[in-house]
């Protein structure tokens, strides 16, 4: 991990963001275990370096297309974690007034064009945001996050084809955590690196270690700059691992079938812990400073938890609003 070349400020930001994601989701998992959460949620735990690294390279007015596993993208963009938690509990002051839930948190003020319950459906939508940018001639960029399994969906192909034909300012980020629910990508695709699919569109395809926030950041930055300069899309594949089951209710016992230690090996690469260790080794952030960061975030998190729990449910009449203008 190349922490040496990074400023303390940047490393602190990385750490704060990743730690916030982690703690946020630990509490979300608690909601589930305590029976407070309606429905389910898909946890991003273990994959924090990706959203953190990519979003660190963005500007305020950039756009993001997110997925069912979208908490991390939102936190990385600085979304209000109180409103996120309220949404996850189906409460009135949630981002979507409780109408969307974990899988549909939209934060338009942060450029988040929506999480999406339909795998692959967000890819063309994010690509359309890039079309808007090109149309307006601004130097914004759109990011489309999705899983390796989503790359088997037709919308992936159609989107990358359009974006490359028209040189749209969009960067596609594959969060390759090896599984789509229980299905091992190696059983349903014949390429080792999904990034290789970039060659079907004449665009760059890059593989990065998705557990290393600096590597993600640097690769994303390059692709984002390239997009801003009008040179078109890039496909970046981040190798990562989903720590929990597919969703909070999934024990994910299916994963041990090829390699019993698979999970353990990946957990050793914990992006939060690794950054912390590296930053300590290079004496970029002191133990005390880490304690302070963590304490500050803990406060935010507890505040959000309380807010979400206390926030009332939406009024029943809300079922009928927001269908049309």
């Amino acid at each position: 991990m190349k922490v040496k070349e990074y400023s303390k400020k940047q490393l602190t930001e990385f750490y704060e963001t990743m730690y916030r994601m982690r703690r946020f989701e630990e509490e979300v998992f608690e909601f589930y275990k305590q029976g407070l959460m309606p429905g389910l949620a898909h946890l991003y735990m273990g994959e924090e370096a990706i959203a953190t690294g990519v979003c660190a390279a963005l500007k305020n007015d950039d756009y993001i297309g997110s997925t069912h596993r979208g908490h991390g993208h939102l936190v990385a963009r600085g979304a209000d974690i109180k409103r996120m938690m309220a949404e996850i509990l189906g409460k009135k002051d949630g981002y979507s007034k409780g109408k969307g839930g974990s899988m549909h948190i939209m934060a338009l003020d942060k450029g988040i064009l929506g999480a999406n319950g339909i795998v692959g459906a967000e890819i063309p939508i994010a690509t359309g945001a890039a079309f808007s940018i090109k149309y307006r001639g601004t130097d914004q960029v759109a990011i489309s996050f999705f899983g390796e399994a989503a790359s088997n969906q037709g919308t992936f192909h159609e989107s990358l084809n359009m974006a490359s034909a028209w040189k749209l300012p969009v960067v596609y980020i594959i969060e390759n955590n090896l599984y789509g629910i229980s299905v091992d990508i190696r059983d349903v695709a014949n390429v080792v690196d999904i990034a290789d699919r970039a060659s079907a569109y004449g665009i760059p395809g890059v593989v990065v270690n998705g557990m290393d926030v600096t590597e993600v950041y640097e690769t994303a930055k390059k692709a984002i700059d390239r997009a801003r300069e009008g040179e078109g899309p890039t496909l970046i594949e981040c190798k990562t691992y989903r720590w929990q089951g597919h969703h909070v209710g999934d024990p994910a016992t299916y994963r041990a079938r090829k390699d019993v230690d698979e999970k353990e090996k990946w957990m050793k690469k914990c992006p939060v812990k690794c950054l912390k260790e590296a930053a300590a080794i290079y004496k970029k952030i002191s133990k005390k400073e880490f304690d302070q960061i963590e304490a500050k975030i803990e406060e935010e998190i507890q505040e959000a938890v309380q807010f979400a729990k206390e926030n009332p449910y939406p009024d029943v009449q809300e079922s009928y609003t927001d269908v049309f203008e």
Partner: protein
């Protein structure tokens, strides 16, 4: 007044709205250089250029999703799907995405886009190019559904569609494109949700959509000669539905036929019947008649196709049956 084809009326609406608002962007297969498969965007590419009139690859799901992203970020895309049957290729984007984004986001976002697409049988285009998809999209909340009749209507309603802040599915009728109509020199936007009494009558009401408005008028003319007075309502929009105009007419005439070209089963005619039923139950003198496409895929051979298309004769006969 001037004479225009229905396709030209569509093109004029697009042109006027594009001139008025540079956020309006047209995209679809063959809309640019060719000017549209049905010649509904002739000259627009030359006038507005490559970024505003965009030929897409054959990727209906992809470019419909693209338009959603454009709509979410400040543009007002108008998508052409070459045949309404292709709504099925893009169905997830239309129905799970565009239609639901306002709701799922709790009103944070809206999707001001129009999907224009032709419906209708009669060209021997067979089962995959002849369907009328208005019932399918009407079934799903979140989409406004427009079924214009003649050229003036298509122009006025398309202008409204483009200015609307919600996703609108705008169905043009492919058998009308080349027909000529008289239309006013200036056509104002026509509000959604307000049906038009195309012809007043007192013995029976026909509620019709799209080209069946014209066919109903023709049937009404024939019936007039036999002393039967038919009220023809041009529904204009299925969603929103102008319940009031329909109910008032049925209360007056006591009889109702609904003519819509979507398949009969779970179709538009079924819905209208069921929707007004409570309120007209005690006024009805006869069962409600439906004139729709029967529940079979559309055949190629004209020998098979013509007899099953909703026609002037079928409307005429249905009325005679109920009178």
């Amino acid at each position: 007044m001037k004479t225009l084809t229905y396709a030209q009326a569509v093109c004029e609406a697009l042109d006027e709205e594009m001139a008025k608002d540079d956020k309006v962007v047209l995209l679809g297969e063959d809309v640019a250089f060719l000017g549209g498969n049905f010649k509904t965007s002739v000259g627009l590419y030359e006038k507005y250029g490559d970024l505003r009139v965009k030929d897409t690859p054959i990727s209906e799901a992809g470019f419909t999703g693209l338009a959603i992203g454009m709509a979410l970020t400040g543009l007002r895309p108008v998508v052409e799907l070459m045949f309404s049957d292709f709504l099925l290729v893009a169905a997830d984007q239309v129905i799970n995405q565009a239609a639901k984004i306002r709701y799922m986001s709790g009103g944070q976002a809206n999707v001001p886009m129009v999907i224009r697409t032709p419906i209708g049988a009669g060209r021997s285009s067979a089962a995959q190019h002849s369907q009328s998809m208005q019932a399918m999209v009407s079934h799903f909340p979140g989409l406004k559904v427009v079924v214009p009749s003649n050229a003036a209507e298509v122009k006025g309603l398309l202008k409204t569609a483009i200015r609307d802040n919600d996703p609108v599915i705008f169905f043009e009728h492919k058998m009308e494109y080349n027909k000529k109509f008289e239309i006013p020199d200036i056509v104002e936007p026509i509000p959604f949700g307000k049906a038009r009494i195309a012809r007043e009558g007192k013995d029976i009401t026909i509620v019709a959509t799209s080209s069946l408005v014209m066919k109903s008028e023709e049937a009404a003319e024939k019936l007039e000669k036999e002393g039967i007075s038919v009220e023809v309502i041009d529904l204009r929009t299925i969603v929103p539905f102008d319940k009031e105009t329909v109910i008032n007419s049925v209360k007056k005439t006591g009889k109702l036929v609904i003519a819509d070209e979507s398949y009969e089963r779970c179709g538009v005619a079924a819905e209208i019947a069921a929707e007004i039923f409570d309120e007209v139950f005690y006024y009805l003198d006869a069962p409600i008649g439906r004139v729709s496409t029967p529940n079979v895929p559309l055949p190629f051979s004209p020998a098979l196709e013509f007899p099953i298309i909703p026609s002037v004769d079928r409307i005429y006969n249905k009325i005679k049956e109920l009178i």
